[in-house]
Symmetry: D2
Subunit: 307 residues, 4 copies
């Protein structure tokens, strides 16, 4: 098949850039990753599936969880509630910057794709207890990724929790302005947990396929994301999804995408397919260096850009 050949070539193209990147080291679990791992998967809206490279290797979702969490929050409490405590604008700053929080008297974060914004968004995940809230997230993740075996990396969660002081600073800043209420540590626990969910490249490709398929699960036909929420999620992935390289990525790839420091990137080709790439060697902005190149190659060869 021609498509298969393109994926294979994309993988080889991306592999050439791996040596220019570095594995995240702020927690031991991420530092254990092999920088040479590289994978690309795709799931089409008619359920064709493609997988190349280390497609079975699990990694933690990290910031990719921000997309799932945003969807779940929107579907649970609606747009007005979610965006009363987070904005929709890119920041131009690193994902963990606290500067713009001080600029607004309410300390409301600019968008759901930076850490502060994701912490705010996650407060909307329903549940009476932390366990229930995380379980709701996990069940939703399993459903939207089409994999009942997705689970938490407890070690990563504990590491995130242990080293999460910058996120605590963001959270307490927001609490001081009223964006967060209740226990900050519990909000952070949930945030650290959702960041620590293990998935494979294929899982996030499935997530991308749901977002490509107008929010409808391609197997069950269930509407997991409403049309309005889909617009919000896909547009925020374009404007803010690739950290402070989002603008460049939009010109080079032109697909709604979200990366995580675990090395994964999910991309959405509307009406066609979801793509998942994985490569833990990161560029200086925190995006998978090989993964970005794979997506550039695919976008170019298959003419996928929205722009």
């Amino acid at each position: 098949m021609e498509l298969e050949q393109t994926f294979t070539q994309a993988l080889e193209y991306g592999r050439q850039y791996i040596s220019g990147g570095q594995v995240a080291t702020y927690i031991p679990e991420l530092a254990k990753a092999d920088p040479n791992w590289l994978a690309v998967c795709a799931v089409t809206t008619d359920l064709q599936s493609y997988a190349y490279g280390n497609a079975g290797q699990k990694f933690t979702l990290q910031s990719i969880a921000k997309v799932i969490s945003l969807i779940l929050a929107l579907e649970s409490v609606g747009e007005d509630v979610v965006f009363s405590k987070v904005g929709m604008e890119p920041t131009g700053d690193p994902f963990n910057s606290i500067v713009k929080l001080e600029k607004v008297s309410t300390h409301t974060p600019y968008n759901p794709m930076i850490n502060a914004g994701a912490i705010s968004v996650a407060t909307n995940i329903p549940g009476a207890t932390l366990e229930q809230r995380f379980d709701n997230f996990l069940q939703f993740t399993r459903k939207i990724c089409g994999n009942e075996d997705i689970s938490l990396s407890f070690e990563t969660y504990l590491s995130e929790k242990r080293t999460g002081d910058r996120n605590r600073a963001l959270a307490y800043m927001m609490k001081s302005g009223g964006v967060l209420t209740g226990s900050v540590e519990e909000h952070l626990d949930l945030y650290f947990m959702i960041c620590s969910v293990l998935a494979t490249c294929r899982d996030i490709a499935f997530l991308g396929a749901v977002l490509a398929n107008n929010g409808i699960h391609p197997q069950t036909g269930e509407q997991l994301v409403s049309p309005r929420h889909l617009k919000i999620v896909r547009s925020l992935m374009v404007t803010c999804g690739m950290y402070d390289a989002s603008g460049y990525f939009a010109t080079m790839v032109g697909l709604p995408s979200k990366s995580g420091v675990g090395g994964g990137i999910v991309s959405v080709v509307p009406n066609v397919m979801g793509i998942g790439v994985f490569g833990p060697a990161l560029d200086e902005r925190g995006n998978s260096i090989g993964g970005v190149k794979i997506l550039e190659y695919l976008s170019e060869q298959l003419n996928l850009s929205m722009f």
Copy 2:
């Protein structure tokens, strides 16, 4: 026709919001505008044309010129040269902010849609003299807007020049880092001139139609924007085109767009049409308050969003 009715309704919908906005007053020429003016035009890729409201009213392009200037620069000197002196990332700051220029040791502006970035981009417009450079811009504008009568508002140019000290600050900051070379005042003269070109709602709709038609002039068939440059321009319009409301606008309208404080907004519906709206009453971010609402209505009713 159904489409005609939708445009008419969009105009009436937008009109309800006019009273919440204010005409720009930093120069007398803008302050003279009637806040009640409102118009919407469209030009399809197969050259159907629609015009409603004050469609014949001229206004200055202001920041909409940033799009034309970017295209001309890219077509003239290529992507590498243009982006050696400007980035591609949104800032999260107001369009005239100088703060992020200081953050980078070279004082390179973040993107072509903020003032600093547009001043940098315009230096690439070719010509031996200021007059030739502006003439090149004007000829290109006439061509891409499909109107040979487009001309400069000399009064606006003089006003911009007289009150342009904030832009001078941006320009000298860039010069101190090597982003600009040569005469700052001449660079600014060109920038002030291109901002002061008079156009109508129909003219910018035609510009949008070219960007919708894969960069090809729908009448002459001339390729005015190469495919790669088209991706750059349309993606930057999405991530940075509506000042620091770009993220919100992407969720609500979902079309590559660029606004100007003269009250115009150009929007691109890929493969379908260009839309121009005009309404000099601005919201607090500097976007036409009625114009944004017209575009929201059209996007919703005609299902135009890319997302």
Copy 3:
């Protein structure tokens, strides 16, 4: 006596400005203060004592504690240890700003007189437990203020602790850079406690007298502050002691001083006396509005300025 008359006149002069200020309201205990309270006290290096107005009214030290804490830290662990985790430079920003913490990769606060800096400094107060550390602070405060009855306002401490999220943000930011180690909440507990110590105008005048008397307790002759530490403390009081009005205050009063949002200000007239003023109505920078005017009057009439 002429001096007595000057103090009386200073009090009346300051009283005229009270109506322009407002009592701090971020915690109930501060909001309970009567904005009309006003007092001025002085203790000379030869132990003459002066007291006018509401000199017996207790108030919480708030930021004045930063001076005592800095002295105790310096005397306990030395200059090198203290200033390995805090700088000596004014910030130009409000006392609770977090922006400059992000600018430095280690997240080291700029000086001991802003909240972040004071939290860092307080970590040097010795003691095996929180109770011992606070007790060390309290005993030192009693000694340097010459009043064995000085005690904690437990209600204020609890309020500070309950509403201290901005300070938590500062603290976690510092912890993420390694400035703080161990339990943030315990560090904050100590900080909230030392801010919540109750004193009178006379008590802080005595503190000023020690700093005026070359660091020597004027009654016991004990050297409480070494000569080198005295220079550090008095110079930081001048450059950073009056929040972001320190520069103006230096020209108008010209004395090493430190204010607190409880309404107190301690001023040092080297070799002559310590002055304490108290008035809970604050100006917009957080300094006692009447207190500042009293000090301006005294400095002018008695020619006290160092400059």
Copy 4:
């Protein structure tokens, strides 16, 4: 004499640190300086004079001119006029930073010792033409430095003018907020000229002596600085005079001082003497590295600190 020995030792002490610094290179005239030059001079209020090292070597005043310009402005138009267009607060930022100008809607600079503030202050120097205004500055400089031969380095002025784009950015930012009116280039010309005045170590020691002698010329008895203006100048020298090392310098030296990138530092020992040091090798903050050490030595040995 003992004092002579102390000066000699101070010079030798300072010399040890020279190799850790670097000569300013942003203009050729500064780059020509020999990094090994080092000098210390003093002029007492009773006109005793001391000079050691390269005391006859001329250098440009650079930022030391900010002090003279501030005095002349204050004496010419008064405190209220001067401080309607500049503040009194330290910034915590580098001397050429533009960030804080944007924070204030009027773009008023924070203090007279940073570039923006000094440009604002210099607009108050009286004169019908640029030539007259500079001549007024020059005459006043000759008088307050006690040297009729002080003159302009025209080469330095031209270099400053040619490379002064960062200062132009500051100036146009201020003009856009109304802090400056009229010709920015003329304001900058004056500013560049006053920075380019040549002086020796002995000249600035004399300046220091006037400020030490309550503003009275020690030879002629003329009151060059009024008592109120003296407080303003000496306090601003303490809080803001040594760039963003002012706080540290206050603890280590404790004297009102002002440095320039030409390598000079003027220090004031109230009622005793003025000290001038000179050494073009600068530390990373822009202060003479040997000069600072000389002053630290003198302050320590002679117990000069105000604190």
